[in-house]
């Protein structure tokens, strides 16, 4: 992690120096820079997510059609993705690339706020520009608050008491707002969709979780959470991906309607034609035509399934379908 962390710690210290030795401004500026630098990845991730959502109605139809044949369902899904030119993992890759960057940002802030001998000894040899050594220790006081400490209720000053209440609340509100704005509006068909249910649950859990972090971690980290969330909301809004109409009905969100909720009849016919092509191709496939897929689906299907009732036909995937095993 040092190959990423050390440049980040260096940039944070440089910003601190440039911004008048103000660590809060440095954290805010650095968060904005990182969020902007990773916005192409965010855009890519958003595109993939939208594409996957657009295909949900077709996927649902395929699930219905092949509910007893997991091998064919998997093949049909892959064919469908191919038809639309969608990479099913396209949403994960940008996320995976962003993760270490965000970890490094978080780590750089933690190191930057280091205030104990252990934390400062871990800062040694991290600056890529030796002259920055003279900045240590970075000033960690802001509005009379010690940024290295978690918020304290009933603190020594009014500011610290207000901060102790306001910071966790702001973290929770901005986290909730970001989740809410980036979550697609609920559609009638999402009612029984487990993925949609999970997303809804996360919208509740995430703010609570981050609120808890804000109470447990240092104030500096809370500031990072808040700035990161606010920048995220602005980014999504500027990209036209924020669903403001979810919060304020009647307000144009700028997000184009998802297929299945407001697709034109022509588009619907085109989609149906593609779906027919896909199912025709899959129906013509001999069993075990795709050995890798067959092996994967046989492993999955050998587990008891909710769809498989006692009197239902045995899913074909449970048979040994790997040609090598035959």
């Amino acid at each position: 992690m040092d190959f990423l962390l050390n440049p980040f710690v260096t940039v944070l210290a440089l910003l601190y120096q440039l911004l008048g030795n103000d660590i809060v401004l440095a954290i805010a500026a650095f968060t904005v820079i990182i969020r902007l630098a990773t916005s192409p990845l965010l855009l890519q991730q958003q595109k993939s997510t939208e594409a996957a959502q657009m295909l949900q109605p077709q996927i649902k139809k395929l699930q219905e059609k092949y509910k007893n044949d997991r091998e064919k369902l998997a093949a049909a899904q892959m064919e469908l993705y191919k038809e639309y030119g969608v990479n099913p993992l396209g949403g994960c890759l940008p996320l995976l690339i962003q993760m270490p960057i965000l970890f490094a940002l978080y780590g750089a802030i933690l190191y930057g706020l280091g205030s104990t001998p252990f934390q400062v000894v871990d800062m040694s040899r991290r600056f890529l520009i030796p002259s920055l050594d003279t900045l240590i220790p970075l000033n960690k006081t802001w509005l009379g608050l010690d940024l290295t400490q978690p918020p304290v209720f009933g603190g020594i000053s009014t500011v610290s008491t207000i901060a102790a209440i306001a910071l966790p609340l702001l973290v929770m509100i901005t986290t909730w707002l970001q989740s809410k704005l980036t979550m697609p509006p609920m559609r009638p068909e999402d009612k029984d969709n487990p993925a949609a249910a999970t997303t809804r649950t996360m919208t509740t859990i995430m703010p609570l979780m981050f609120g808890f972090f804000a109470l447990s971690f240092s104030i500096g980290i809370s500031i990072y959470f808040i700035v990161s969330n606010v920048v995220g909301i602005i980014q999504y809004t500027l990209l036209g991906k924020a669903h403001w109409n979810v919060l304020i009905p009647g307000l144009g969100s700028g997000v184009k309607a998802l297929n299945g909720t407001a697709a034109s009849p022509e588009k619907q016919r085109e989609n149906d034609a593609i779906l027919r092509r896909v199912t025709d191709r899959v129906d013509q496939m001999p069993k075990g035509a795709n050995p890798a897929l067959a092996a994967r689906t046989s492993a999955a299907a050998s587990k008891p399934s909710a769809a498989a009732k006692p009197d239902a036909p045995k899913p074909s995937g449970s048979k040994p379908s790997n040609p090598k095993k035959k």
């Binding site: 970890f103 780590g107 933690l110 252990f118 400062v120 030796p130 050594d133 996360m202």
Partner: protein, 392 residues
Amino acid sequence: MTRFVPSRRLSLLAALLILVLVTTGCVGSRLGVSWASVSLVGENQNILLAFNNFIVQIDPRDGSAVQLRDENGNIRVVPETGEPRAWNYQETSAGAQHFYTAPLQLNEGKLLFADYARKLVEVDLVAARVDNPAGIPIPDHVVADPIVDDQHLYLAYLNKDVQARDIDDPSVVIWTFETENGVWSEPLLHEGVLYFGAMDHYLYAVEAATGQLRWKVDLQGAVAATPALYEGNLYIGSFARKLFIVSLEGEIVSERAVDDWVWGAPVALDGVVYAADMGGNVYALSTDDLSEVWRVRAANGGIRPSPLVTEQHVIIGARSGEVVWLERASGVIALEGARQLGAEILSDLMLVESNEARPLAEPLVIVSTVANDNLLVAFSATQGVRQWVYKR
């Protein structure tokens, strides 16, 4: 389909939990806030190891925990098992004592600890117990060893300031000297003046009786070490990658660039000052003008502790876990290379010599690491042979 919902939610929650753990794990969280303090206490000059939530007294002859005795000298036993009780104090309740500093021995039976949890606590040396768990409140955390003179107890605080308190009643503050940042090393007391370096980049000289500033000098980077006094000058390094000679009047007599931060206190002896930096280098420099006698890259990791200088050797412990003996005259790595302890060495090394009450076959070098399986390791000072290991 609906029956998959709980498992997916659980998976997501598990993933989030892992994310949090990885996030915190990636930045190398540690137990505690500082490294162990190693000192000598009592008539027998046993080793006292204070780290995090425990204090233990160790017999330097074999590395075993010292047995607890009653006032008549009889070994105390655990009533249930009949096993001898060890001199071992462990605080189990959260938020209670945390020990990173060497104690002051107030009298034969009492140790005074500046506890990290913002209080002064008294530890009964006979019973191995904290006498006043509530302690005497102090305004800030302490990581620097306190010092005393006839009248005062001097405390340096983690975030800012140095205080003098009444030695007879430490709850009474005599004076407070304000610094802009913390003081992480014990002050040097010389002829009524306290000399101490602070993280705010200054070396201060303060009247011990009154707390009045005599002078302060900017060393361009954080100062985390105690200055070394030698023939009327102070020798000290800073995080500005420099070593300095400062006169007792507060003038910089000489300065010299080094490769990395200087954290540990330099040691001045026989016209040579020995210092180490966080880049793994050891320097032997003239005490006159800091000109080079020799220098060597002695370890792969940074060297936080002060060098330990014996008659023949300069011994260092590094963050890479290496303990290295260097020939004092030439800086050549001696005794067939480094001893590898496999864990970070941050505490100062200590030389334990034989005494009448507790004879030793030969002097020992005591090294403390941050790992429980190598908390204290004793080497023979002259041969570098491992004598014993104290684990926990």
